[in-house]
């Protein structure tokens, strides 16, 4: 009961941020609904109802696009036909597919922020992880090993690539004081060029294509959770959930995590207490990069099945917003990733069915993040009494300060 209440009190601002963003989104839908706007002079009542109807249809389409149509899901399960079930649950499964890499990278960012490092390099670490997994998978193709073994090795190699890419800025900061915001951003570009270089090598490139894309992984795949046609949801999602648990345990239940958090909150006090602040930085960044790299590995082998430069799609930056929305809690990251996943998949159907542009979703996501970053605004809109500032705020403000 107490934990539920504390969860609710923590979820108030993020929750209301989402609601407020959706309300503003609705206003934008109405204001851009030219058909009904033009009627406002002649038929005001019709125009108002028309506009409200438009919002309802748009958000309705978004909901069913993200979670499926409940009636249809029930009917499909009653009929028992695999094809029907697959069609009915596909929207929900696509939401989870979209959420999977967001969970990995969101966790990566949460770990770094919790430990005082402002990792803006999630993109590069994700890409490098994907490259590592690709390299391992391609190298193992002639061995004829079972798919599952190739997968495991590829994910491990990919994770290590991401970890290495994260370790570099950690090392630079610990040894030279180089600010991680600069180094991680720059390593995003370097990483993209490294991946590009690999993609045009004969080793990785799809033979005969001439494009910077890898061979499609026909000999290795991430096993699906449910074996139904056209359902892409695979064990990567489950691993993402497990990693959320692992990160939570690491940060809050181990001595290493205690050290990482202490150094992140207050580096000098950590040094005074006999901890190695530099070591904490390097380890934290390696863990963070490793999580992002693991996400890249699962996406490239499972979801997409082929490495190309656009697989990251700016995920490192979306994940920063997501981690903040999650108040840097692993469980929050999972919820926020599901929300973002639902908005992206639902937005697609909204675009198709109601004619409201998909881009509205970017507006809504951006508003959510803005509101979460300005809790005072949400509190004043909804008249919520102020509590003490959460410790996360402090992590943020200290995160970019200080060196060894």
């Amino acid at each position: 009961m107490k934990t539920l209440r504390s969860f609710l009190s923590r979820a108030v601002v993020p929750g209301l941020s989402v609601v407020t963003a959706l309300l503003i989104g609705a206003i934008v839908i109405v204001l851009t609904d030219l058909e009904n706007l033009s009627k406002i002079g002649t038929d005001p009542v019709g125009a108002i109802f028309g506009a409200i109807g438009g919002v309802g249809r748009g958000y309705g389409a978004m909901l069913s696009g993200a979670f499926g149509d409940p009636g249809r899901i029930v009917a499909a399960f009653q009929s028992g036909s695999p094809a029907d079930i697959a069609t009915a649950i596909r929207p929900l499964s696509e939401t989870l597919v979209a959420a999977t890499p967001l969970i990995f990278v969101g966790l990566a960012i949460a770990v770094s922020f919790r430990t005082g490092m402002f990792n803006v390099g999630g993109d590069g670490q994700f890409l490098l992880g994907a490259l590592g997994a690709t390299g391992a998978a391609v190298a193992l193709q002639p061995s004829g090993l079972p798919s599952i073994l190739v997968l495991v090795v590829s994910v491990i190699v990919g994770t290590m690539f991401g970890a290495a890419w994260g370790f570099i800025p950690g090392f630079l900061k610990a040894r030279t004081g180089a600010h991680e915001v600069i180094t991680t951003i720059m390593l995003n570009y370097v990483g993209a060029q490294v991946v590009f270089y690999a993609l045009v090598s004969t080793f990785v490139q799809q033979p005969g294509s001439g494009q910077p894309i890898s061979r499609p992984f026909t000999w290795v795949d991430v096993p699906p959770i449910v074996d139904l046609p056209a359902i892409r949801l695979d064990w990567g999602f489950i691993v993402a959930l497990i990693m959320a648990g692992v990160v939570s345990l690491l940060l809050f239940r181990t001595t290493k995590g205690f050290e990482l958090r202490a150094a992140g909150f207050n580096m000098t006090a950590a040094r005074y207490a006999g901890m190695s602040a530099g070591g904490s930085m390097m380890l934290a960044m390696a863990i963070s990069g490793g999580l992002a790299g693991m996400g890249g590995s699962f996406v490239v082998i499972g979801t997409i099945g082929q490495l190309s430069l656009d697989i990251s799609g700016g995920i490192g930056f979306n994940a920063i917003a997501l981690a903040l929305l999650a108040a840097l809690r692993p469980s929050g990251v999972v919820l926020a990733a599901l929300l973002f996943g639902a908005l992206t998949t639902g937005g697609k159907l909204m675009g198709i069915q109601s004619g409201i542009p998909f881009d509205l979703l970017f507006l809504i996501m951006a508003l959510v993040i803005m509101f979460v970053a300005a809790p005072g605004l949400i509190r004043s809109i909804w008249r919520i009494p102020v509590r003490k500032p959460p410790p996360e705020v402090a992590t943020m403000s200290q995160g970019s300060a200080g060196t060894v």
């Binding site: 239940r253 181990t254 001595t255 290493k256 995590g257 205690f258 050290e259 958090r261 202490a262 909150f265 207050n266 000098t268 006090a269 950590a270 040094r271 005074y272 207490a273 006999g274 901890m275 003490k388 410790p391 402090a394 992590t395």
Partner: protein
């Protein structure tokens, strides 16, 4: 001008910070406002300076009621503030800093009339014997002079009522004496001074009347001519306090900490500790007195392994620790109470329990194969909270929401939670109120009697005299002298702390 506050009340969520406080000071009078941290002094001052609006109550100046909507209104009414933390632009010179916001302007472009401003500042400086060079850059000035610039600022704005908030917190004893001289000359010209402090000696020396605040109320008033330190302390705390913790004579045993010809550089690579030889024995308290910035910080950091030494030797219990890490030193049984507890001793946004294990988390019973044993952490922290009387709603409360005294108790409780042979306590009671000081001194003496060697670094003469068995005075990176027993007087220590008169600039 006569200032009167009548029944001022101010409530913050959960606290009644000021509860019907009435004070009055006549023209040319110094009112000493004495109280512990959290007694409501700062709230009252902020009301007087227009930063807060009182929930009820009235402010009268020369019998006329005034309502201050903002600080500008208070300044206009003649109330000048000198805050504890100075509000000066470092790159400005004194004239610019003083005139900022109250510039005399001339010409069509409203050009700052520096000549006129400078002239007035020189006049004021001479009139009140402030002795401030009007053309010096703020950043080049010692703290004591910066404070005089703040006073100049208030006088420049024609303040007849001057409020000084904990003015001596940043000053050396000598600078404090100078400040008192300035206060007396202000008084002589008819300025009313409200002097806020928690230091008993100061109100006794400079105030014409004393008002003691406790928990938002006026606990009593006293006449400095007839009252005593003890009486004031009891009034402040609300019970009988021991200003000097009783302790038996030291029984020095084996040498625990030995420093031989120690040289240490500071962050700018200048030699901060210049050849110190010192032996500290089990069962004695050696207080290291000195004005801030004479190498004490570097000395402490070198001993506990936070700073590489330049040359010389440090041994603790016979072990050489010149190249040891802070953890290795701590594992030898060294407790370190850092001088800046907020920055170095605590992690503000971690809980009391987490702070309690900050330097022992890696040892049993807290850690078992890399996993934190939360039950053990919570049990030990709860015991620490109880033993050290730490006032906190729970062990899971953030350290940041505790008062300064309770934060320091968390640090002390943690450092004394394991057996120690050496205690390095830097400014262990800085900023704390009488009650907390008494408590922390008592705990330190307990450790001495249990056989630990204790080093206390302090800039407060009262503290040094109260707890030190021997007193070593540091000046310019060296031990200027070691005093004990009858030689350890206020005057002797003060002389050594100031070094030679010519060396004063160096010290600041």
């Amino acid at each position: 001008m006569r200032l009167e506050l009548r029944e001022i009340s101010k409530r913050f969520p959960g606290v009644l910070a000021n509860d019907k406080i009435s004070i009055a000071a006549d023209r040319g009078q110094v009112l000493g406002l004495l109280g512990e941290n959290g007694a409501g002094k700062t709230t009252l001052v902020n009301i007087l300076s227009g930063l807060y609006k009182p929930d009820s109550g009235q402010i009268f100046i020369d019998g006329e009621e005034r309502v201050f909507g903002d600080p500008a209104a208070a300044i206009h009414a003649g109330v000048g503030m000198v805050h504890q933390h100075f509000m000066l632009v470092p790159v400005f010179d004194v004239v610019e800093a003083v005139a900022l916001g109250a510039e005399t302007v001339s010409g069509p472009l409203n050009r700052f009339d520096r000549t006129a401003a400078r002239k007035r500042i020189v006049e004021l400086s001479e009139q009140y014997r402030l002795n401030v060079n009007p053309d010096a850059k703020i950043e080049s000035l010692p703290v004591g002079v910066r404070q005089r610039v703040e006073i100049l600022k208030a006088l420049y704005r024609k303040s007849d009522i001057l409020v000084l908030d904990e003015p001596s917190a940043v000053l050396t004893p000598h600078e404090t004496e100078e400040l008192f001289g300035i206060i007396r000359s202000l008084k002589a010209t008819g300025t009313t001074v409200i002097f806020i402090t928690h230091k008993l000696n100061e109100v006794l020396e400079v105030a014409d009347q004393i008002v003691v605040l406790r928990r938002g109320r006026v606990a009593g008033t006293a006449d400095p001519k007839t009252t005593t330190r003890q009486e004031l302390a009891n009034m402040m705390v609300g019970r009988d306090v021991e200003l000097i913790v009783p302790k038996g004579p030291a029984k020095p045993a084996a040498v625990v900490l030995k420093l031989s010809n120690l040289f240490v550089r500071d962050d700018r690579l200048e030699m901060a500790v210049r050849g110190i030889d010192l032996e500290i024995r089990a069962g004695e308290i050696v207080a290291i007195a000195g004005v801030q910035g004479n190498g004490q910080t570097e000395l402490v950091e070198a001993i506990v392994g936070l700073r590489t030494i330049d040359s010389g030797e440090i041994t603790i219990g016979g072990n050489h620790v010149e190249k040891s890490t802070p953890r290795q030193v701590s594992d030898l049984g060294v407790a370190h109470i850092p001088e800046d507890r907020g920055r170095d001793g605590l992690i503000a946004y971690m809980s009391v329990a987490e702070n309690y294990i900050l330097d022992t988390y890696h040892r049993p019973p807290y850690s078992k194969r890399g996993v934190l044993n939360r039950t053990a952490v919570n049990e030990k922290a709860a015991k620490g909270v109880k033993d050290f009387d730490i006032r906190t709603p729970s062990i899971h409360t953030m350290a940041s929401s505790l008062s300064g005294g309770n934060q320091q108790k968390v640090v002390v409780a943690r450092e004394f939670s394991v057996p120690v042979q050496l205690v390095i306590a830097a400014q262990p009671t800085r900023g704390l109120d009488v009650g907390s000081i008494e408590y922390i001194h008592r705990r330190i003496v307990e450790q001495r009697d249990a056989g630990a060697a204790i080093v206390i670094i302090s800039t407060e003469l009262d503290e040094v005299l109260a707890v030190g068995d021997r007193i070593a005075v540091m000046f310019a990176g060296q031990i200027a002298g070691i005093l004990a027993d009858d030689d350890a007087t206020y005057e002797n220590i003060g002389l050594l702390m100031g070094g030679a008169a010519a060396g004063e600039g160096q010290a600041a």
